[in-house]
Amino acid sequence: MTEPVVDIRGISVEFPGVKALQEVDFRLFPGEVHALMGENGAGKSTLIKALTGVHRPVAGEVLLGGERVAFAGPAQAQDAGISTVYQEVALCANLTVAENILLGREPRRFGAINGRAMRARAAELLARIGLRVDPRSTLASHPIAIRQLVAIARAVAIDARVLVLDEPTSSLDADEVAELFRIVRVLRDEGVAVLFVSHFLDQVYEIADRMTVLRNGRVVGEWTTAELGRLELVQAMLGRELGVLDELEHRPDKGRAGEPLLVAEQLGRKGAIAPFDLTIRRGEVVGLAGLLGSGRTELARLLYGADKADTGRVLVDGEPLKLRGPRAAIEAGIAFSSEDRKGEGLVADLSVRDNLILAMQAARGWARPVPRKQADELVAKYLKMLDIRPADPDALAGNLSGGNQQKLLLARWLVTRPRLLVLDEPTRGIDVGAKAQIQKLVAELAADGMAVLFISAELEEVVRVSDRVVVLRDRRVVAELSGVDLGVDDVVELIAATPGAEPEKVAS
């Protein structure tokens, strides 16, 4: 066998109070796709950051191409041929797409940046991953999924020996994933070593040649994809078997909804979403399905008042609600968990406790602090309920692993006991076990009478948890599907149908 291009030996990484990695060995060979697997908080991102010089290991060594390296930072790692897409997209939101892709490698003429050449080169790189956006637009104007693709475009533009992808597909649709995999295969065949992290088992089995499983910061083992079945993989990751997933297949009360809670009449916003009608009932889970850019998030934001609608109105309990902003929505019992947990969700520099009570505290006003005892009880309850790790109320939210941050954001809204919970990609970056847990939780909340609007790029998930699925295409609502045996295929058909058709009601 050839020599590994990356050889990590006995590496340990510690944070105050947390042993994130303990004596981890990891090998990455040229021309292979190697999946790094593990639960939320297992240490996957930390291992990547130890490789690229973000974190300094307290023990162990990293060999790159047989030579010992200790990068002082990600820039050095990049110069040495390690190109990385980090889990939390680390780009400059106020620069243009082209600038972000070519930052530090701008084409120059007589020393000055050549704007035209830069845009042309960026357009070429975007086309390579099949993304059609204007290279001149600012990155901030795009949703998280596009930013993720831009980060990928940037990473594959570098002539690298090693390509590291930390959950690159967490908010992508099937088509974009297929496009990404096509490129990954090309690079692999050229001899690039690819390190891939994902919680989607299907994707892992599709693309990976080999996997290494981490649990609680230790290596469980290394296998080729062919020799490790799914059940064994899950067991290796969790250290136990997974039973919850099947339970959800049979939601007993599916389709039994109560009175209308929220009614949107011709609600719309120019450039975001065409006017639509939508009714959400008590105890009902409504799913939003559509491709990237179809207007799912935009619709949700209008219902919450995060953006202002310029047509139509919203009725709650039959009464018109003036949605001047999020506060008005919160007062009416509406909660919204954003898909962009880093930018619009958590307050990274505050503790887990403060983040958890933030929405509750904001609703009470500054003069009536949540009593410390109550806060501690809530924190203890929700950390346990959602299995947030480490279960330390004083840890900084920004130091939690991606999946645990996502759970914390969900918990923030659960403590406010909303009547309508709008969840935009609530399972983004969440591991298999926790995902099933969250889906089950949504079902339980609905059974208790809470209305839920559920958005996810993963269609299976939307169909599984929802009583009713609203399909969006090209920023308009095109269909509504309901029925006990609603299938993924029905939705796929509508999502992909040729545009121009009038809204239709379908019951299966």
Binding site: G60, E344, R368
Partner: protein
């Protein structure tokens, strides 16, 4: 004590030691007519206005803002009060009018920042330049001197300790209690760390930002009264000149990041004391006046560098890499 206050404390101790070395009587205090006298007391009294403004500035900076107009606002407060007294008015009503005007200016700054959305540095630059002009208009370009024993108390009076420092410390304790006992501190930090996430969580960011600008303007107003009362005069041109820089430096030395978010009032107290001790030191060790500012800058730079994450990581004891 938290680790990030370590360097400021060391810097303060070092400065005090330099002074003791140069003037051995530096630490001595004596009681006279029920007043405490000594170099340390002078530092406290002269540092009171800076401390007060730095206190307000801490909250502004915590919300990701900055207020450059504090010196101008201080000058206006002094100008209004002295003009009022000189025209035969009562000092208390004069001070009340002055503070009301300061609150108005805080409202204006807060309006520009939180409603119009102007960058804080630009928004407050407006009043920084215009404010001195307003003060000039009020005093008609003159230095107005007053002779009013009641008014003298604020800046120059004593209740064992200088009244000015008592006011500033009381304000500091008050703010600490209000922000930490209520949820105000949490909400301010949350707005400062991530304004958009805070808005979506339902935090009234606009009200909070507005409040801190009004508060810092009131602090500046009181500080302006201290400064003018101390010399029984209002000097529109020079009262509170560069105090915004001292206040911002005090906050930064105290470990509150200009990027907003987590703030430390204890740090600000230390920062203000360092700045004032530094100014005193410059005089006691006889640094020539033309290099005073350079000297100050070097010390401030040193403290800020020591707090920089890159440097503190480099200075931290490196654990040995274990070879297999």
């Amino acid at each position: 004590m938290s680790r990030r206050l370590l360097w400021p404390v060391l810097a303060l101790v070092a400065l005090l030691l330099v002074n003791v070395f140069v003037t051995p009587s530096f630490l001595s205090l004596r009681m006279q007519d029920g007043h405490l006298f000594g170099s340390l007391v002078d530092i406290l009294r002269n540092g009171a206005p800076t401390l007060l403004i730095a206190l307000g500035m801490t909250l502004v900076i915590a919300t990701r803002g900055i207020d450059l107009s504090v010196g101008a606002v201080a000058a206006i407060a002094g100008a209004v009060t002295c003009t009022h007294i000189a025209a035969g008015g009562d000092p208390f009503s004069g001070m009340a009018i002055a503070l009301a005007l300061c609150a108005l200016m805080g409202l204006w700054n807060g309006f520009l920042v939180s409603v119009v959305g102007v960058q804080p540095i630009i928004a407050t630059l407006v009043l920084m330049t215009a404010g001195r002009g307003i003060a000039m208009l009020i005093t008609e370009g003159q230095i107005i001197t007053v002779d009013n024993p009641a008014y003298r108390q604020i800046g120059a009076g004593f209740l064992v300790l200088p009244i000015a420092i008592l006011i500033s410390v009381a304000a500091l304790v008050g703010v600490a209690l209000v922000t930490r006992r209520t949820a105000l501190g949490l909400l301010i930090e949350s707005v400062g760390v991530n304004p958009e996430a805070s808005r979506l969580a339902g935090v009234r960011s606009r009200t909070i930002i507005w409040t801190v600008y009004v508060f810092v303007a009131l602090c500046s107003g009181v500080a302006g009264l201290m400064i003018s009362s101390n010399v029984s005069a209002a000097d529109a041109n020079n009262a509170g000149l560069w105090i915004e820089m001292d206040a911002i430096l005090a906050v930064v030395i105290g470990g509150t990041s200009l990027a907003g978010g987590r703030y430390s009032l204890t740090g600000t107290l230390l920062g203000a004391l360092i700045i004032q001790t530094l100014t005193t030191t410059v005089y006691t060790i006889g640094v020539p006046p033309e290099v005073t500012l350079v000297f100050k800058a070097v010390v401030v730079l040193a403290v800020c560098l020591l707090q920089a994450p890159a440097l503190s990581r480099a200075l931290a004891p490196r654990r040995k890499v274990v070879l297999p």
